[in-house]
């Protein structure tokens, strides 16, 4: 099959969505298909730009190329997934969240603009009208499927996939640091982790990996760490190699992953593959599909006191941490999350 994968690219940004798209392309090629990534540049401010992007996508014709049909397209991200095609399947990573679940939340940029409400309504309307053009709708997670149902009244099937290089994750010694690898941005709540760290009673150490979306945010985090007097217990690795990442996962005491309503969250799965317990929050979304409190990790309210208590618990109770990590590893094996299964469903 000739398969085009539709996504959007925020220039000079790399995160879970980019890894997801590339992993899907790799998996399609491994399965013997001809696969091409179609990435549309995306800028979301001022809000009218969102509609400009959407309109541009709607005007594209990817029905065939060089006289040969494109047999199937798989849409991943807004607004690229609205490029028309008669054999389109959606595997939605997330919608334009500030128009939906993040609307009126502190990080919602749309609300700051006078035209924000109208643009939001246009986005909501076009999603409801245009998404059903697809022959099937899959969601990245149960969380994303729930949002589609809640805001657009559309049914979709959650379809889990493994993180990139899943087979390479390994477990190691139960080290003296918690690990949080992620983009550094408000939604991932590194600030909350720093605040919690300041409230721990044990000599907990944190290792963050990842690049800030905006350099100013990195500065803010560093300043915050100084203000909380935890700088000596925090390490900022920035972007690290895959090898280093695997080693950091393998050697940590546990993984902290407390984002706000994450769509899916590779970090959860990567921690489980590394047999590490995960501390997450009751409002963290995707991770809650895999982490149970007292089972595969600890689930706490999204406040510094509660997270600090969980960090102290895992720091203190090494046996529980190891058992929770093993349960996580067993759970991910049970779920049968693998690419052949994903490809079979998307191309059915």
């Amino acid at each position: 099959m000739r398969v085009a994968v539709l996504t959007t690219q925020v220039l000079f940004t790399k995160g879970g969505a980019e890894i997801h798209a590339q992993s899907l392309i790799d998996a399609l090629r491994r399965a013997g298909h001809e696969a091409e990534l179609v990435a549309i540049p995306f800028k979301w401010y001022p809000p009218e730009r969102i509609l400009d992007n959407l309109l541009a996508c709607r005007m594209l014709d990817i029905g065939e190329s060089n006289g040969l049909p494109v047999d199937r397209v798989i849409g991943l991200r807004f607004p690229a997934y609205h490029i028309p095609h008669p054999n389109k399947v959606l595997w939605i990573l997330h919608q334009h969240r500030t128009a939906f679940d993040l609307w009126a939340k502190p990080d919602c940029d749309l609300g700051y603009y006078p035209e924000g409400q109208s643009v939001r309504e246009a986005i909501m309307r076009s999603e409801t009208e245009l998404l059903p053009e697809a022959r099937a709708i899959f969601a990245n997670s149960r969380n994303v499927a729930g949002r589609l149902k809640e805001f657009c009244g559309l049914d979709s099937t959650p379809l889990y996939h493994p993180p990139r290089g899943a087979e390479r994750f390994r477990t190691g010694e139960f080290g003296d640091y918690f690990f949080y690898p992620s983009r550094l941005c408000e939604l991932k709540r590194q600030e909350l982790v720093l605040e919690a760290l300041a409230r721990t009673k044990r000599p907990v150490r944190m290792v963050f990996a990842g690049k800030p979306d905006n350099p100013a945010y990195m500065e803010k985090l560093r300043t915050m760490a100084e203000r909380f007097r935890v700088s000596s217990r925090v390490e900022w690795l920035g972007l690290i190699s895959d090898e280093d990442m695997l080693a950091r996962y393998a050697g940590c005491r546990g993984v902290i992953f407390p984002p706000l309503d994450e769509d899916y969250g590779y970090i959860t799965l990567e921690a489980m593959l590394s047999a590490k317990p995960v501390i997450t929050c009751t409002d963290s979304g995707g991770p809650l599909e895999f982490i149970s409190d007292g089972g595969t990790g600890l689930v706490r309210a999204p406040n510094a006191e509660a997270i600090a208590e969980a960090m102290d618990t895992l720091w203190e109770d090494r046996a529980f941490g190891q058992e929770a990590g093993q349960r996580g590893r067993a759970r991910i094996d049970e779920l049968g999350i693998n690419w052949p299964n994903v490809i079979a469903k998307l191309l059915a």
């Binding site: 509609l51 959407l54 006078p114 035209e115 924000g116 409400q117 109208s118 643009v119």
Partner: protein, 442 residues
Amino acid sequence: MKVNLFSPLPPARTDIAQCVARMLPALSAALDLTLWTDSDDVDARTRRMAKVRRYDADNMDWRALSYADLNIYSIGNDARFHAPIMEIARRVPGLVILHDVCVHELAYYTIERRPAGRERYLALLEREGAEAVELGKTWLEGRANLRDLAQKYPLTWWPLEGALGVVSHNASALLEAVPNLRIPLLDTPLPWLPNAELPAPRGRTLSSGAPLELLVCGHLNSPSRRLSQILDAIAAYPRPERLLLHVAGSVRDEKALRRKIHTLCLGRNVRLHGYLSEEALGRLMDRVHMALNLRWPSVGEASGAQLRFWNHSLPSIATRTGWYERQPEGSLLLLDPERELKELHRHWDAALNNYDELVEYGLRGRMLLEERHCAEAFAAALLDFAPIVKRYQGSMCAPSLARRTGQALGGLRLGDEALSTALAKRLAGQIAAISGTSREDA
């Protein structure tokens, strides 16, 4: 439902502020209401009944508007009160309560204060045709009267551009002025007090030999209120000693008015009260025998003053035009504007001969007030209307999206008209699909 209402508020000297004050209990009970004003001066009662926020159109935090279920703009023709509201309404689409059908003065004074205001004003008039532009130029050169221009070109459509919907208390006049209205219209009577707050209906008597006390009130600056003609009619009346006119309200040129009263020897027939408080005006309405609520030429507005007269069961004379003409028979004494003086005399004769018969007009008006103008009914109608207008929120993006697309298309310099047209049609179809507007509109 979370609602922002932008309106002049008491004690602002405008009927629209009083209108808001009257319907406030009903609105506050039905809605999560925030009142927005550009004035620091808001009375204590209003502050007790709803959240009041001050705004500066040049320095807004738009989030409060973005996250509301509905933004409502109370629009009248007086630019002092409504120009700042229009600055907001033009940027955040909402529901317009249009109190005046003629909003030419509002349009002029709102636009005039912007950079290149005069050019923009003339560009606006271009939509009315070349003659309107020429007349506009004569006004800008000081050779014409804005009021005359407004009579000819009321520009009713202007505050409705970019609105989600419109509430009118005089829908037939609105539709006459904007026959191709393309937004939802809620035709609902001008709201008055909740029925529970109405004073008891009251009868009136005219003692034998006592003068018939007449009242004109409100904003009397416009010639359309006929104050000068009323004075002429009193002077020409065969028994002027039987008439006593109370003038309560703002008059632009009080000196000229006093001169006229003096010239007509009406010193003993006219009392000038100036602008009265609500309470003082209410006491005056209870005292007089007849209100004169003339409008000619009419600009089609529903009359808050008329509701006030009915509230006091006060018989009143109005011009046979617009909203007044459509009121149920027996609630108003009407006069033909072409025979104004004669008909005033006829009504005064009738009142002096048998005042008891006229009292019924005031009482029937009072019943009408209860039946049609109840504030709770208005709040309920607004609640029902809100989801209808909200459906159009997304379509508000269509004009700017079409404009940007047109600019991009123009930049391509395709040259081939057929090719350009085909591309424009496809783009229009997609804009319509995205915004939920019709393909033709897109």
